[in-house]
Structure formats: structure tokens, C-alpha cells
Amino acid sequence: MIGWSGRRKALIILLFLGPTLVGILLFNVFPILLSSYTSLTNRNKFHPNPDCNLVVTSVLDPVCWPIFRANATKGLAEPYRTQTPLLKNYIDVLGQLFTREALLAFLLIFICFIPLIVAGYLERYYDRQMTRRVSSTTIWASALVVALALAYALNVREAYQTLTNTGDFFIVVFRTVIFVVLRVSLSFSLGLTLALILNSPYLPGRTFFRLILFVPWATSSLAILMALVWQFFFREQGVINQVLNFFGIHGMAWLNNPTSAFAIVVLADTWFSYPFFMIVILGALQSVPVDVYEAAEMDGARWWTQLTQITLPLVRPAILPATVLTSITAFQMFGTAYAITEGGPVQSAGKPGATDFVIVYAFKQIFNSQNYGRATAFAVILFIFLFAATLYALRLTRITKGAYE
């Protein structure tokens, strides 16, 4: 494209990409390699130091690199070794997730989702037809009814109980997924509603509202402090309970109840994240041409039809990548939950608390119990999952294509 070719071009590209590549290799790729290796060892607070005589260790652990050995901390404790069997940490983390009962429980839960998947395919099939014989509401409603009936018939509650008894991994990941779904859909719908309203040109004072509504994102540099403020609202002597007291209602200890603590974290994180959606959707809305609506108006399309048939499909390409990427970051949410509940409330000792989302859980494993081996095994499993999710999302959204490809 640009008037260079051959070796000169390669050199220039390398020159411009070089710093990025070196940085990514050192601070992104290397930690992944080191963590993968650590996840195979028994590194913990009793075995913190490397044994530089082992080949793999001496290559991967920075402390062992010859040029850096001068700065290394030397300890007297036993060095860490690889586990026997090699995947012991993974087995510990996954617990009994792959026993027969657990797999059966998974299968039962999956069966309940089949009607919804079928409905999705039916929906897409009908979308391609010129005329619809069945409305989309009917399809989804009947699928939901069948799914619920199946769930009742197959006793999903019991299957869920079986899975929660398999160890920390399932319950932690499950709660995180619920959190992501709630938080992304909440902040998406709030952001969409506000963006639609703010996009209307017949609204005096919309600049003012835009500034105010934007404030939570601008305070993101103080996320940890704002999270503490949210925590204060829901303390026993906090704002909510005092207001309730004023009306003669005796409030509860919100943060000690698993359900309400979970809801509070969702609410606080929604507060932090909806402005991003608002901004992205607002930007996308500005590129929607007005004449499409005029045409729809001529055809007698109502507000709701215009929204679902014109606005949403047209802004979809801009919003989808943002949504997918936000979901991935929501999955890795750490600060809010850690500041508000520290992962609690814990119902029984040794079990993860109601807001112990994956990263909070792993962070506590590393920094509170210095259980590097297990925590990195956890991280690697998560990484494989998120890596796959990202690749799938990229395929879905095709954002790697440039504007002119």
C-alpha cells in the first residue's frame, strides 16, 4: 500500500511494532508462561524460592537469570518442585467436577436449555422467510414454558446441589457468570435508555444531563473510594437503613445477607459501568441516518417497531464489540467486590463467599494464603476459557477487519 517493499518494509514494520512486541512479550506473554509453569509446582509460602539447578525453572523464573541473580532474594526454605502427579493443582481446583454424578448433573441442566436453543434457530429461520406464521413472542414464550417444565421434571435443583458440592470451582465460576449477565444487561439497558433519550434533539438541557450522567465514569480513578461509599450506604447504620428507619421500617444488615450483598455489588458496578455504554451507544446513534425513520413513519411504524427494527440493528455493529469486551472485563471484575464485601459474606468457613468472583477468589488465594500453585492453576483454566470466548467474540463481531477491507 505504501511505497516500500521487501526487506526495507519488513525492517520499518519491525521498528514500529518493536516496542509493543517487546513489552507484550515481557509483561503479558511471559507472566502467562511463568504462571502456567507455576501451576504445575507446589509453590506456596513454605516453598517460595526457585531451584535454579532445574532447567525449566532456571529459564522461566526471573530470579534465576544470570544477569539478575544479584538482585534475587535468597531464602532458606525448601525450593518449589513440580507436583506429582503433574496436574495435581488442576485436579485440586476442579475438584470432583468430572465425576459421573457431576457430569450427569451437567447433562440434565443442558437438556433444559435445549428448547431455548431450538427457539433461537427457529427464530433465525423465520427471519429469513418473507412472511411469519408464528410471532417471535409465541416462539420464545413456548420455549420458555417447555424449558421450565423440563427443569421441574428433571429436578434441576438437585443437579445444581450436586454441582455445588464438587468444590469451590463450580460455585465461584457460576456466581461470576450470573454476575456478568446481570451487570452487563443492567448497564446495557440503562445506557441504551439514557442514550435514546439524550439523542432526542427536542430536549432542553440535555447537555447538562449528559454531564451529570457521565460523572460515575469520570470518578473511575477513585473507584476504590466510591466502592467504599457504596458500602457505607448499605451498612447497618448506613443511608438506606436510616431512611427506612425514618419510615418506621427496621432495615436489615444488607451486607451480611448473601443475596443482598450480591445485588449491592451488581448495583455498584452498574453505577461504574453504564456511562461507558451510554457514550458508545450515543456515538453510534449519531451515525444513524434520519431519512430511514421518515420512511418508517410513512409506513406507519410505531415507536417500538422503529426501535427494534431500525435503531437496534443499525447500531448493532458498533455496540456488539463493546458489549463483548465489557463482558470479558466484567468477568474479571475485582475492585468493586473486593472493596465492598471482600468476597463475603461467607456462610460456612472454608467455603467461598457470595461475592467471591473468580478474580477476587484467586487474588485471595495468592495474597492472603500465598497459595501460588493452586491460584495459578485457577488462572490458567480461566484464561483458556476467556481466550476461547474472545476468539469466538472476534469471529462474531469481525472487528479485526479494517474500515476498507
Partner: protein, 281 residues
């Protein structure tokens, strides 16, 4: 959708906006109120005190500015954040230039790889990052922190800039090249000025990465007090026994005010810089 709304629709819209504004602004308003109150009195508030300023004093601000090391922390943060901003701008612009203006083998793979590698949770890579920094002798120094932050922002910034550059027609640069400019020269003279919104967003993200982070800053610079950054420094004022809400809130407002102003000033840029660049369909 662009019809003039009827009276009832207008009322509904305003109702939603006002409710949302209360939701958005109340936590911040609460912090402002707390900053004007003495000591730990957040616990003994009366109901009215939670919504309107019943008492007001600048004592907390005075203590934070002149008796606590807040100004030192802010100076440290300013140093780290501004160097991060400049470094992140330079490195990601040059990478985005290569990725946007050249077609080469493995380009798309590299883009995907950058994004996918990012999904390794940063908090969990922290131990390894700390180890590398220790090995390099940069642990507990601001420079090490700057290195970690800059590289942390690279993926987002590169992607965003590359997306924005893609929307700038290359014809303009080719015209300049016909007039005798080199490719790099014409890129700097033509594409960079056109990409100002994306540059603003990248700069803002670089700055926020350094200014607002808590976890990296508190793990990579645990001590001494004089080397701390603003956010972990503020947080360190809280002990297990008590949280000095007044100091906390006053310090928080002092820390957040500059970024708030920058954010509000850049919000027009943000709309175009984010949507045109990073999230192109």
C-alpha cells in the same frame, strides 16, 4: 424517533433523566458532604445530613493538604501518570501506524493475539510482573510502575488508534507522498492531526491508568510513605480500626477533581474517539 415528542412523552423522559441523574450523582454528592464534616462523624449523622449540608468546614481539606503527605502522593502520581501517557501515546501510535498502513503476513493474527492475550487476568499476572521488576531492579520504583502501566494500556490504545487510522483515507497521505513526502513523514503531517479525537482518548486512558490504579500501585510500591501514589496513599489512611471518612472524602475530591475536569472537557472527543476507533463494525 425524531418526531417532536408529545407532552406526556416529554414528562416521562425527564422523569427517567432526573431519576438516573440522582442515581449517578448521589454517591458523589455524599462524598462532597462527607468532606465538609469533621472526624469520623459519618456514623452519627442525622438523616438530613446525608442529603443536605447541615454543617460545613474546610478543616479536612486543610489537614489533607498541609499535614498529610497528600501533595507528595499527588506529585508522584502526576509523574507516573504523565510519563505513562506520553510513553503510551508514542508506542501505541507507532504500532497502530504499522498495523493500519501496512499489509504484512500475520497482521490479522497479531491483532487477534493482542486482544486474546489481554484476557489473562492482570491481577494474577501481578506476581510474575513483580518478579520481572525485581529482577530488573525496578521493584519499588516509579519507573517500574510506569513500565507496567504503559504496557498495560498498549493493547487497548493500539486497537483504538488502529481503528481510527483505518477510517482516515490513505489517499490523503498518498497525495502528500506524490508531492515528495516520505510515508512516515506524510503520516505524521496528515493522519496524526486528523486523528486528534483518538489521540485524546488514548492520552486519557494512559493518564487514567497511572492516576486511578490501585492494585498495581499498592503491590509494586508497598513502602515508604513518601514514594506512594495518590490512590493507595489515600487508602492507607484507613486502618483496621477506623476509616477517617472526612479526610478520605476531602482527599478523594482533591485527587479526582483534575481528572473530572479533564474528562468533562474531553467528553465530546470521547464520543467520536471511542466509537469511530475502537468499536468499528
Amino acid at each position: 424517533m425524531n418526531r417532536k415528542p408529545t407532552q406526556s412523552v416529554l414528562i416521562l423522559q425527564y422523569a427517567i433523566l432526573i431519576l438516573a441523574s440522582l442515581f449517578a450523582f448521589y454517591p458523589v454528592w455524599f462524598t462532597i458532604l462527607a468532606s465538609g464534616r469533621l472526624g469520623d462523624r459519618l456514623y452519627t449523622l442525622n438523616l438530613a445530613g446525608m442529603f443536605v449540608p447541615t454543617e460545613w468546614t474546610f478543616e479536612n481539606y486543610r489537614v489533607m493538604l498541609f499535614e498529610k503527605p497528600l501533595l507528595t502522593w499527588i506529585k508522584n502520581s502526576l509523574y507516573v501518570a504523565s510519563v505513562t501517557t506520553v510513553a503510551s501515546l508514542l508506542i501505541s501510535t507507532s504500532a497502530a501506524f504499522a498495523l493500519s498502513r501496512f499489509r504484512f503476513y500475520g497482521r490479522e493474527l497479531l491483532l487477534i493475539f493482542l486482544l486474546a492475550i489481554q484476557t489473562f487476568p492482570g491481577v494474577l499476572a501481578l506476581v510474575a510482573v513483580a518478579q520481572i521488576l525485581t529482577a530488573l531492579g525496578l521493584y519499588k520504583t516509579h519507573e517500574g510502575l510506569i513500565l507496567a502501566y504503559t504496557i498495560g494500556t498498549l493493547v487497548f490504545s493500539t486497537w483504538n488508534m488502529k481503528g481510527y487510522f483505518d477510517t482516515i483515507p490513505i489517499d490523503l497521505e498518498e497525495a502528500a507522498m506524490i508531492d515528495g513526502c516520505g510515508p512516515v513523514d506524510s503520516f505524521i503531517r496528515i493522519a496524526i492531526p486528523l486523528a486528534l479525537p483518538a489521540l485524546a482518548v488514548t492520552a486519557l486512558f494512559g493518564f487514567m491508568a497511572g492516576w486511578g490504579d490501585f492494585i498495581f500501585a499498592s503491590v509494586l510500591i508497598p513502602a515508604p510513605d513518601s514514594a506512594k501514589l495518590a490512590v493507595p496513599g489515600l487508602y492507607s489512611l484507613a486502618t483496621d480500626m477506623s476509616v477517617p471518612w472526612g479526610y478520605f472524602a476531602a482527599g478523594g475530591i482533591i485527587v479526582v477533581l483534575p481528572t473530572l475536569l479533564v474528562f468533562l472537557a474531553l467528553q465530546r472527543f470521547l464520543v467520536s474517539g471511542l466509537t469511530i476507533g475502537g468499536v468499528k463494525g
